[in-house]
Symmetry: none
Subunit: 299 residues, 2 copies
Amino acid sequence: MDTSDGSPKKFPEMPKGKSREKSIEARIHEQYESLPDSERKLAEVILDFPGDLSAFKASELTALAGVSKAAATRLFHRLGFQSFDEARLLSRERREWGSPLYMESKPGTATSSGGLNALLKDETDLLRTSLSKLDANRLDEVVGHIVGARRVFLIGFRNSRFIAEYFRWQLLQFRGDVLLIPGNGETIGEFLADLTPTDVVFVVALRRRIKELHGILTSVRDRGTPIALLTDPTARRLPGLATWTLTVETRGAFPFDSCGPALAICRHLSVQAFHKAGRRGRAHLERIERQHEVLDTFN
Amino acid sequence: MDTSDGSPKKFPEMPKGKSREKSIEARIHEQYESLPDSERKLAEVILDFPGDLSAFKASELTALAGVSKAAATRLFHRLGFQSFDEARLLSRERREWGSPLYMESKPGTATSSGGLNALLKDETDLLRTSLSKLDANRLDEVVGHIVGARRVFLIGFRNSRFIAEYFRWQLLQFRGDVLLIPGNGETIGEFLADLTPTDVVFVVALRRRIKELHGILTSVRDRGTPIALLTDPTARRLPGLATWTLTVETRGAFPFDSCGPALAICRHLSVQAFHKAGRRGRAHLERIERQHEVLDTFN
DNA sequence: ATATTTCAGAAACGTCTGTTTCAACAACTT
DNA sequence: AAGTTGTTGAAACAGACGTTTCTGAAATAT
């Protein structure tokens, strides 16, 4: 609808197969010795900023280095690029080489080499992109409420249900009043009426959400209870209802989603909350541990 | 509006202390409901990108979303920015926090920066060591039985229970007769008596195993049913009873164990089994997908 | 039906970007 | 000393960028 011919639009270049190119850093190192003064100053600025050339404009770099813009053009020519923009695209491509998106599940290459390496890569990539997007402050607030709330309610359906169960299990290690709702055969309404602002609701809502979720969250919010939402980027209207939203990537290169990142966050929250719970929580844990030792005569 | 407030812009803004600003994603979530069509399309493109907004130009985003450039300007105004560039800078600033600069685990500052980097390292380390120890052939055999068995029984207690649940959920995507035992309030004995060698039993037994497990496995073996055991290195007598043993690491640097590796293996088994199930399994999945599409009118 | 409001995209617009040109300059070479 | 080579930033330049304006279309109200 924007171009006259109506057919495929001009996309910015997407990661193709050309990740074989030498990285910008590598190119700089190769020629570092022979670089003239001003270009070297520029190169150092680039190297000092780990990874992310693509986030800067050439003029920003030159300003940081205190050289003229002409120096930038010359440097990138010398490094083998036809323009600064070409370097920018390469840099971006590099960084998104772990991007879970636009990785169409090519049937042919999916299971190559036993698939275990691919799996490892997939999982770690998802973890990295997920964790790097998280905001530490938001996490801290959630942790605070998990420790301080009178009761912690966990909500999760389908896929997300068992993540909520895992989380509950972890939290129970050091605090009580952690409830997974709805329990078997219970309806959720009964709990909703009972909520107060001193509680906290933790909702796990990964892909394949049920449509009732929207109504549930609205109810919770109306009762004034803070909501922490653990979801993926495909959630659209839910985050607007939550007090804090923690987003993780779940779509990898495989037909089934990965829950690794979501669980990692739950683990992190558990650990942090455990620390923050302090002596009280520790006592709770030790009590349980001692019980276990008595019972676990052998495995 | 007022592009001219008199102050000349000199240096690109460097990360100061103002990480207090709301993130772009958060702003989008807040207003998502009230966004007009074209701006919403744009917002979705932004949300879908794992990478940074700062790596893109506004015109690239609009091209990806298939909207006019004007839509971008309008969107960013609506989100509370004075210009696209302002949003770009905020996004870049954000990125610095989760920077690839490895947070060396100094003993003193264990929880600095939220400890997210430490978590990432821990999880990926566990994954790598776990997966590297696995035997592809053994996995293949397990996959074969999961696909070919008349019924798949999943067993898991405590911690391991929810992993079994996850696995069940995945397997149900492409085959029926996947049973998690014991169900609520059921005793496991009833099922054991029913087992045949054409079934397969998949046991998840991570740390903190209950002592009844040994007896259960013995019974299963005596009935001639093949057993796949997913456990950790601390299991002592259990592997001797299993037909195949898959071992994963769970102990990391944190007080709570990680289930990431165990889940990764379950995912892998699911994917492989799905492939091996071939047309039959795919038809099953598509049938389910279609049902979902009917039900998921919105999320 | 008409009026009102909201929205989208095309086009005009000024600004800033990155490139190129050019003259000044320094460091060697002969 | 004059010539050669290489480097530098200012200035000129074309082009792309993001913003604004405007007109028509669509949705909603009256």
